[in-house]
């Protein structure tokens, strides 16, 4: 997909002015924040569960080489095929090769951010293979030629009227007079249309929420059941997953599952948690004949042992973006690539480069709400700051900001000079002070006064007044 992260600022301004988007984003609060709070409050031990989940991932990452080997060996032992992919291109080619070998015409897909990351659909389509997204939200945005605006609610930027218009446009064999006013009618139509697609598919591609080393199992978590129909009906099931999805045992997956759904949707457990191990067994009446796992690195191994290692604990619940004041007003597309919100602001620069994604870690107030809700206790603001440091060290910070910071630093290290300079500035502003006590415009503060009045200073600096007071003046 096209990267528009360099124009994040313009994207954001456009998003803020988009009334329909703003209306849709209002659903984030109702759909996620309130429900998560309720689910978390219902579990007194939730903080302990977060600690446990964090510890499991930390242990796994510290032994990632060994757990991955154990996992891959176990998959092979259960009749599956593991393919390691160093890059996105490798992963695309592996998937395409499998599809070609089995002469696949149609591929159904369960919801998967990793296939967005490697831009798999485009690659398959270019090579003559039809891809059908089957998660309702993914299906809707595929009809619109869009990408997900949220990692678990891909169509959260849309209102039902827009979806109705798309269905009428694309499902043009259905009677035009049919009533699609209610969401339930839209769901029913999508269910019927997609059911045929499920039954006709040659290959089903899913992601994975977990890979279990103990058993060679991949796990997907869904609410719709689309991931299951994607993987049990076609002849071939391909799992595309990144290397950090591995956990040691079923017990470990269970512990993380306890914080996943609660943090994501406020459910105690998602409707379907599905464990797949190998291809169908002799005697199985259904299930795929072939089972492949494409294990993607794509820069992740290089994050180990760096300040960004913590990010590899991420379980893609979306809580950070749901609770982010910036995401809430700009939506996911403004971030300009696959992963939006705070987790994206950390991950995207590692995947597409901080030169392109430099805005993302800067576009945060460091309010810390993301970290406070992250089930895996990922210090997201800290890592966004690491990116700012990285950009500053590489002189990618805008020159105006750099020189401003330089002047300020020069003064801030010289208290006497600083006192003099602030004293003069404050007096000057006080002289200019309008009658109302605040500036409506100020030439050097237009970023502020474009939208807000600037309260005027009281007139003297505290330190000057304190000196007078100590001197008994």
């Amino acid at each position: 997909m096209d990267i528009t992260s360099p124009s994040f600022k313009e994207n954001a301004t456009r998003a803020i002015g988009d009334k329909s988007l703003q209306k849709a984003l209002g659903n984030v609060e109702r759909g996620f924040i309130y429900k998560r709070a309720k689910a978390v409050a219902a579990v007194p031990a939730f903080e302990t569960l977060r600690d446990a989940a964090r510890d499991i991932k930390n242990h796994t990452l510290a032994h990632l080489d060994l757990y991955l080997e154990a996992y891959a060996d176990k998959v092979a032992a259960t009749g599956g095929h593991v393919h390691f992919a160093e890059t996105a291109a490798d992963a695309r080619d592996i998937v395409l090769d499998i599809c070609r070998r089995v002469e696949a015409k149609t591929v159904t897909k369960g919801k998967s951010m990793i296939t967005e990351e490697i831009a798999l659909n485009d690659h398959l389509e270019k090579n003559g293979i039809t891809t059908v997204e089957t998660d309702l939200g993914e299906y809707i945005i595929q009809l619109r030629g869009e990408h997900p605006s949220h990692i678990i609610a891909p169509a959260v930027h849309l209102n039902k009227e827009q979806i109705e218009a798309d269905f009428r446009r694309v499902h043009d064999k259905l009677p035009p007079e049919r009533n699609l006013d209610e969401p339930v009618a839209l769901l029913g139509e999508a269910r019927a249309v997609l059911r045929e697609r499920f039954l006709a598919a040659d290959v089903g591609i899913t992601g994975a929420n977990f890979l279990v080393a103990e058993t060679g199992t991949s796990i997907i978590v869904t609410n719709e059941g689309n991931g299951d129909l994607t993987q049990i009906l076609p002849r071939v099931h391909i799992v595309v997953a990144s290397i950090e999805k591995v956990v040691p045992t079923l017990e470990d997956a269970s512990a993380i599952l306890r914080v996943l759904a609660r943090s994501a949707t406020g459910q105690e457990m998602s409707v379907y948690t599905t464990l797949s191990t190998g291809a169908k067994r002799s005697g199985d009446p259904d299930g795929p004949d072939e089972y492949h796992v494409v294990l993607l690195d794509n820069g992740r191994s290089a994050m180990l042992g760096t300040p960004f290692e913590d990010m590899l604990r991420c379980i893609r619940c979306g809580a950070c973006m749901n609770h982010c004041p910036v995401y809430q007003v700009v939506g996911g597309h403004a971030y300009g690539w696959v992963y939006p919100g705070p987790m994206g602001s950390v991950l995207t620069p590692t995947l597409i480069g901080v030169d392109k994604a430099g805005h993302l870690p800067n576009a945060s107030t460091f309010c810390g709400r993301c970290e406070s809700v992250c089930p895996m206790r990922i210090p997201l603001p800290k890592m966004m700051r690491h990116w700012r440091e990285n950009a500053f060290a590489r002189h990618l910070t805008p020159p105006s900001e750099r020189s401003g910071l330089g002047v300020w630093k020069f003064l801030a290290r010289r208290p006497a000079l600083y006192a003099l300079a602030t004293g003069i500035a404050v007096r000057a502003m006080a002289l200019l002070k309008p009658k109302g006590g605040r500036f409506r415009t100020l030439p050097f503060a237009s970023g502020w006064t474009r939208h807000r009045d600037l309260p005027a200073p009281e007139g003297r600096t505290f330190q000057a007044m304190w000196k007078d007071r100590k001197a008994g003046k």
Partner: protein
């Protein structure tokens, strides 16, 4: 201060650059409250805690300023700031700046242990349970992010405000959600900042309060500026002004 004050803890006030330049009243309110809490207050020559550099990715710059702050405030028993974000910078982030320097790291650790945000210092350290002040009308309290999430400041200001005669607290929706200030963020991304503070202003107005209070001047200037631009009559004050009874000065962004 006379010799009789030796038993009283000595507090170094980090007044913060915003309070120093924009609203000295908050500094005097802080001094008054710390003194009422049985401490001796001093204000060593100071500039800034280094947060602007730190948040811009200039770690070395932040470290230089941190060294100056630590050196200036080392003699005191406590270091108090009328700001959650400056206090959090000194308390939570200074030691990390010196991770590769054991000598400075140890110094920073000792320093950080003495740092407190003003209201949590009064309540948690000095055991203050109430103040003798009065303020008439309904107020709503905005939880500034750093104070809330990095220092656990939530109940302390509400507790002390509860003792102010004539004051009624009314909670706004999403009191714990960011106001969109974010230091340099508000001028680097003005449209986003505005969209966030717009929601905050709506929540403040919907609460029915006549005054919004907070513990950080940056947030207050942001909220006051937005409320004024939107034509609202809601006043904005630092919580210390109300607790110290220093509300004869005009509210933030108001004239004499």
């Amino acid at each position: 201060m006379g010799d009789s004050s030796h038993s009283r803890p000595r507090v170094g006030l980090l007044v913060t650059c915003l309070v120093d330049a924009m609203r000295p009243t908050v500094g005097f309110a802080a001094v008054d409250l710390i003194e009422k809490a049985g401490c001796e207050v001093d204000v060593p020559a100071q500039t800034c805690c280094g947060q602007p550099a730190y948040n811009s990715g200039d770690r070395d710059g932040a470290r230089l300023l941190a060294e100056a702050v630590i050196a200036a405030f080392e003699p005191y028993d406590y270091v108090v700031a009328p700001s959650g974000s400056c206090a959090a910078m000194m308390k939570q982030h200074y030691p990390g700046l010196f991770a590769d320097d054991p000598h400075w790291h140890a110094r920073a650790e000792r320093f950080s242990a003495k740092v407190f945000e003003l209201v949590s210092f009064l309540v948690d350290v000095r055991g203050m349970t109430g103040v003798e002040a009065s303020y008439s009308g309904k107020v709503t309290y905005h939880d500034s992010c750093s104070g809330l999430r990095e220092l656990g400041v939530r109940e302390q200001p509400r507790k002390l405000l509860g003792s102010v005669a004539g004051l009624e607290i009314t909670e706004m929706k999403d009191a714990d959600v960011c106001c969109g200030f974010g230091g340099a963020f508000c001028v680097k991304y003005p449209d986003i900042s505005n969209a966030i503070v717009g929601k905050k202003a709506d929540n403040i107005i919907a609460s029915g309060a006549q005054t919004v209070l907070a513990g950080d001047l940056g947030c207050l200037m942001n909220m006051a500026g937005k409320l004024a631009r939107d034509g609202s009559k809601v006043k904005a004050r630092h919580v210390a002004e109300v607790l110290a009874g220093m509300t004869d000065r005009p509210a933030i962004g108001e004239s004499e």
